[in-house]
Amino acid sequence: MSYRRWIQFWGIGFVMPTLLFLAVFKYGPMFWAFELSLTSYDMVSSPRFVGADNYFALAADPIFRTTLLNTFVYIAGSTILTTTVALLLALAINTRVPGARQCMTVMFLTNLMPIIAVCLVWRFLLHPYGLVNQLLAPFGFGRIDWLTDPATAMPAIIVVTVWRFAPYFMVVFLAGLLALPEDYYEAAQLDGAGPLRRFWHITLPLLAPVLFFVVVVSALLSARIFLMPYLITGGGPGNATRVLSMLIYETGFSYMKMGQAAAISVVLFAIMMVFTVLQMRLFMRNEHIYA
């Protein structure tokens, strides 16, 4: 074996455990999900081929349609708000006022707190007699039933999502801001450009790849959300906060309709694929910003 071959062999060896893992736990299950989605399977009798029946059943199911719509609303709402809040927080930290770094560290703790604790705490905070209403009372708000009113339940869950994820993306934005070249700002300042114009014409364009990355990753995170609606609202009131991952779990493990659940998985997979393809394209075009 030539020396170059020998080194190549090592490279493949380093990647091999991961490839095996992906075959067993990612790509294998993915193909299996496609296959299962064309069958009726309850784990007792063997799978029975039913063609596209599961998909037709989904298309006709009003609960599925509501759930799909909820998932889109949740993805859009939480992605837009999380990205905006994260960017604003990063800009605030980047002013380097005294104590900024400490504030960042403390805010980041919200991203480390176990998600189950987050859900339990916020369920109490959003209770009609909870802290949120107490804090809003001086501003003239009445007692709002955040989690039992169909109009406020989804916004409430989105707020919890922003609280949880914005500090993480704040750190990503901040790393992007710190990497921006300072001479642009000095030149703009000499030319008399104010902070708003500097943000709009220098910061934002230079930060665009990071911004895009944050949007895509945050959308991928929101698309797979499960615990927040499951625990905070239980999908209710009615079906107002039911999302696809909850429907997969209920269909597969409460009703034992594995084929139907696989069909919902394929739909969720298709949504996630859109964002992943976007991310790939971003990666191919901007490989340098990641390095």
Partner: protein, 295 residues
């Protein structure tokens, strides 16, 4: 950003633009900026503070019209009471076994794969990398049903390897490691090869020491992700002795008569390990996130 010393002499000091410019140049007291940021931070940590004080509160104080931030009577016995009502020590032990395994798995395998992809060229290397990145669209929430059936086939239901197995390698970790290792000059590796160092020795003695910041980030995030897992153990664990703490905590809340203050006590206990790990690795985590420029 360097501040320019020129003072805006244009009048009309109350115009928004002027004020913003003054803030941008640091003329308006940095104290104001700090106060705003501190208020914002306070708003963010308020739920964590609430969780902590509530865990020491008497259960009847839970839903008063105004929150009592400092308990008039402290109830530290909420903790032992909560721990004794269900098998929480066992649940925490299970979670620890699983999460430490997942953390080690990610640290080891993501480093190997990240190094292989960053510094080796082999046929199909780019395709392999894209295949790995693509699995970001295949989280357990999506592949829940077939992965359950895989674990069922392996006869791994109600086992540690069943809970931890599908989480052992995360594409994001590989991405993180690859991007970090790519910036290490290849000359180091070449020089070591010429000196006759083996490939594993190069990885351990040359690459690893430079990856400590990013490895710390990976350790914290993968531990947290595994510590947070709920849906997956919910799907494959049915025996009480293999429950992880989130499953126990949900059951605890559903069982009639368990005070929510004790639920908060468990929530606090569950938060501590992640915060401790973060505190332990704090020195490196900031650098790993690319924040070393922040003073």
């Amino acid at each position: 950003m360097r501040r320019q010393g020129t003072i805006s002499r244009r009048g009309n000091a109350f115009r928004v633009k002027t004020v913003l410019r003054a803030i941008g140049r640091g003329h308006i007291g940095r104290g104001v900026g700090f106060a705003l940021l501190a208020a914002l931070t306070f708003l963010f940590v308020l739920p964590i503070v609430w969780m902590t004080t509530t865990s020491f509160q008497a259960s009847e104080k839970m839903f008063q019209l105004t929150t009592e931030w400092i308990p008039s009577i402290w109830h530290p016995e909420n903790y032992p009471n909560a721990l004794s009502r269900a098998a929480f020590p066992r649940y925490f032990f299970n979670s620890t076994v699983v999460s430490v395994s997942v953390m080690l798995g990610n640290v080891v395998f993501c480093t190997l794969a990240g190094y292989g992809l960053a510094k080796f060229r082999f046929p199909g290397d780019r395709v392999v990398f894209l295949l790995i990145l693509s699995t970001l669209m295949l989280p357990l929430e999506v592949t829940l049903v077939p992965t359950f059936l895989v674990i069922h086939k392996f006869d791994w239901l109600n086992t540690y390897q069943g809970i931890a197995g599908p989480l052992l390698i995360d594409a994001f970790g590989i991405f993180l490691m690859r991007q970090s290792i790519i910036s290490i000059p290849s000359d180091y590796i070449e020089a070591a090869r010429i000196d006759g160092a083996g490939e594993l020795r190069i990885l351990v003695q040359i690459i690893l020491p430079q990856c400590i910041p990013v490895l710390s980030v990976l350790a914290v995030l993968s531990f947290r992700d595994s510590w947070d897992q709920f849906l997956w153990p919910l799907a494959i664990v049915s025996m009480d002795k293999f429950r992880t703490y989130p499953l126990g905590l949900i059951q605890f809340g559903e069982d009639y008569g368990n005070p929510p203050t004790e639920q908060m006590a468990i929530a606090v206990l569950a938060t501590l390990p992640v915060f401790l790990l973060f505190a332990l690795l704090q020195r490196w985590v900031n650098r790993g996130f690319g924040l070393s420029g922040l003073k």
